[in-house]
Symmetry: C2
Subunit: 567 residues, 2 copies
């Protein structure tokens, strides 16, 4: 393709709103342009790299027998009302009315549409399992769109849905999908982890997120330094054992702690280690109130609290409720003399604590020398805290480390959540009606693109992996005003095209410096420059990522490029 | 692909709402399913045929140097307000507000978005001409969605936009696009015509619609029986000459015509031919009132009236206005004694009329023996009527015939309509700022699919052209319970796949009759049946369109299929 008449506007400066590299570089190099907050156009070279990712996804889906289809973006509200998500999805779901005032959701996901289709069309176990996928723009009205393609409001996604006759069959589909996802992200050149994730409000069971390791990721992953174990930190169980403090319990004593509210302030004031204090937080868990206790250096994980009570909702209690129930504000809460209607639940670490401090449920006072069971009652002990770096890995191998990740994929055993609510049944081989068992599987295609740039760039621009690059070769002439350079470059362009090599030809009448800078910014893996030695038929070949360069006869170019891409 | 675990639900009966063949067959054969009025899902084989059309479009676009990009479906209202189309597009434009109450249009077309992009990024004549395209779902809230994919509310479209430095350059791009479109529809196997069309409210000049000839088309095409001339009937100029009636004008006379209102009723009552009466219709043309006269057997073409006055709006005058201005209702209007404020315009045919009848502007009365100029004044004569079958072709070659057409493509010289309103300028080679000259070019991809089915079907199902079919071969075994049939079919399936042939394998345990009926419905061009002679290694090959069938050794199959597709 000739660059002169192509829409690839490059910028010297980073756009002011772009905080992270992928956002900065994709805009600067002319891959994308913002149309509105969180809404982007893909310019021609942007569309090309997107197609590359799409093709990889498509191939891996087809390999495991998933069939591509296409559902509409306009989804009738009636379907969403059947599952209750018209309400529960909240304000991320974009909605509109048609001219007859019928309500539609703008496709954020398609569980309802596909389940409605399948319940109408699939009747027999003979037709199962069935897996379909689609690649299309999805819409989510993010409260704070940011980071370019990482968190947008309209974005390209692959979503797949499986329908199985049993949970065993779902396990099988899930495993195939898991492997297909691993292949996709491996082929995209990404350093990623498959991470145990929270199944959230979907009522499903197993679920993994595919996380690309990156400092700009919004999620924190806890992973083992020696095994393949990796989990969203919300999900990682703590298997640490605590040595019981063998000191003799002393008499608990109330002391003044004027104005000290945080754990650190209290520990400093009372001159003890952070871990010698008990942290007490009052939660509302559905209808009940729960005082959660952890060691002072630990953090309550509210997902664990939610799972413990099998609850729909966990929130910090309001200041009003806190005062009413415990007689003080957040900074003085403690487990001593708690009224009946408040349950006390403590992390396992608390059981080992002796003679420690805790809030006195009285503004400006704490207890010292408090000991569980002796001085206060604990209704139950549980794994309640976030895992920390240095904790033993839950799989028993190695020690936990933290990393940040960008979620690019998600596989999910939905079970019967949708099929039950929407009455998607089939007749099994005994002729009995059974509810279908479902899975859903997503890949953020445009987000994957951004994640690739996060892992493939340097201070001059993008350094695409071979299989994702918009073109295989960037051809340019240093000075197209010189006839022999222009002629040789034109010739080379035609031979590369004829050899089936994707080539972008910078035929612009620009200074060499501008062309080189743009070329580095674009990140096409191989650059071929026709320069001073054009008259001898010699050109320069440079690898974008490594800066390795060499001079080659034009007759050697085609073989060189083909071999380089095969390697 | 094995059919057993694929979502291809076939129906024996036509869906009750499906009036035309493409709608009936695409639903019955499991290509599409309706989700809401005018909104469809493409099931796996539907998605495949859609991809075939897409690929042809993409190839032809790339051949003429158009670059694929992708603009979002969510378009900020601010852009549409710049061109005024936020108002003028009317209720077909679907609209929604985001969580911050910002207004968006749901992409019906992208002139505004692309013009905004190009005005920001393209500054120099060196970057022009520039042509981009995209293939994506579009949204239009049709008042009456119908005919399946022919008139939907969410549909797949290819839209392209060109930016040129001059009208000459636009002509060049337009011509290339015109040829690319001809190639696309030819490769889709369609019988079509490129038709001169109305440039409508867009302010552009040249425009052609690509019409697939079909009885179910909503547009009428006037074409020459001997030349390539074809036009939307609204657009075809009438070049007929009329012989002047040489009778001597008689004295005009008012006669009673009780209850006679239509031209036919009056002609019958007065016992003369339809063409011996003058038809008079009162229009409101922007702010003025115009009484349009045609011969009794002709029809006023309001597009011509609109163009004559360079008007924005042409409507029938209300009954109220008619009574106020001319003193009677619609059925008695005539050109005699018309007040100053009503202009009288007549079709050329009227100039030749002598001693004819016309309304008397008095309920229940007509004049007879009226003659233009003698008995009433005509402010101007013009080409005002619809062309008719039998009229001479406007290009001077042959005679006009009518045909119905489905509009599948539209090429349009927009000129400066958008670039002027949105201030899209560039610096020319003299360094002077000039307004860009634009074109826009659309193909209804999903509609093209339906048009293909309208031209390719028989009473048993679809008969896809080679390049569009979802698979090249439909393989089935008559009785898979017989081991030798199943084994041979499995073997053949694998050899076909290995040879790179797209094959759908009906491996279902269904009766042969069901399989044959489904196969005919799907319309895959070649069917290979493994039946009674399986043990001898002999199978039956049948061409779907012609019913030609032959028996072949399995060893001959691959070559046969490859050669058949090459032919």
């Amino acid at each position: 393709m000739k660059q002169s008449h192509m829409l690839i506007p490059t910028l010297k400066e980073n756009p002011t709103d772009a905080e992270i590299k992928s956002h900065q570089l994709l805009v600067r190099a002319g891959y994308i342009r913002q149309i509105a907050s969180g809404i982007y156009s893909f310019l021609p070279i942007g569309r090309r790299v997107l197609s590359k990712v799409e093709s990889i996804v498509r191939e891996e889906m087809e390999k495991i027998g998933a069939h591509e289809m296409a559902m509409p973006a306009l989804e009738p509200s009636e379907l969403w009302k059947e599952t209750g998500r018209w309400t529960t999805f909240g304000s991320e779901l974009m909605r509109l009315n048609d001219r007859h005032n019928r309500e539609f959701a703008l496709g954020a996901t398609h569980e309802e549409v596909i389940t409605s289709l399948v319940r109408n069309e699939v009747k027999s176990y003979k037709q199962l399992p069935l897996t379909v996928f689609q690649i299309q723009n999805k819409f989510r009205d993010e409260a704070r769109p940011r980071f370019g393609l990482l968190r947008g409001r309209e974005f390209l996604m692959k979503d797949a849905y499986s329908f199985n006759e049993s949970y065993e069959s779902l396990d099988d589909t899930y495993q195939k999908m898991f492997e297909a996802y691993s292949n996709v992200f491996r082929r995209c050149g990404l350093n990623f982890r498959a991470v145990i994730a929270d199944s959230g409000a979907m009522g499903g069971k197993d679920t993994h997120e595919f996380m690309v390791l990156s400092e700009v990721g919004e999620d924190v992953i806890a992973y083992s330094d020696t095994s393949r174990y990796a989990a969203n930190i919300e999900m990682a169980p703590v298997v640490a054992t605590y040595e019981k403090d063998t000191s003799t319990p002393k008499t608990m004593n109330k002391v003044e702690t004027p104005g000290r509210k945080t754990m650190q302030e209290v520990a400093d004031f009372l001159e003890h280690d952070l871990q010698e204090g008990i942290k007490s937080i009052l939660f509302q868990v559905d209808e009940r109130f729960v005082l959660a206790l952890t060691r002072g250096d630990h953090e309550v994980n509210d997902v664990k609290l939610k799972n413990l009570y099998d609850a729909d909702m966990v929130e910090l209690a309001t200041e009003e409720d806190t005062k009413r129930l415990l007689g003080c504000g957040f900074g003085s809460l403690g487990p001593v003399n708690v009224p009946e209607e408040v349950e006390v639940v403590a992390d396992h670490a608390v059981a080992s604590m002796v003679n420690v401090s805790c809030g006195a449920n009285e503004e400006g006072y704490h207890f010292i020398n408090a000991t569980p069971e002796g001085d206060f009652k604990v209704d139950q002990y549980a794994d309640l805290r976030f895992i920390q770096e240095g904790d033993p890995s839950p799989d028993g191998e190695g020690t936990i480390q933290f990393a940040r990740g960008i979620e690019v994929g998600h596989v999910f055993k939905l079970g019967e959540f949708y099929s039950e609510r929407m009455n998607a049944t089939f007749l099994n081989d005994q002729g009995k009606a059974k509810t279908m068992v479902m899975g859903s599987y997503g890949i953020g295609v445009s987000r994957t693109l951004a994640a690739i740039v996060e892992q493939y760039h340097d201070d001059r621009g993008i350094t695409w992996p071979k299989d994702i690059a918009p073109y295989q070769v960037h051809l340019l002439s240093m000075n197209p005003k010189k006839e022999e350079q222009k002629e040789l470059a034109d010739q080379l362009y035609n031979s590369l095209l004829e050899a089936g090599i994707d080539v972008l030809y910078d035929d612009r009448k620009e200074r060499a410096g501008v062309k080189f800078a743009d070329s580095d910014l674009f990140g096409i893996p191989l650059r071929i420059t026709v320069g001073k030695r054009a008259s001898e038929g010699v050109v320069e070949v440079k690898e974008r990522a490594t800066n390795d360069q060499s001079e080659l006869e034009t007759s050697e170019i085609i073989d060189f490029v083909k071999n380089w891409y095969k390697a």
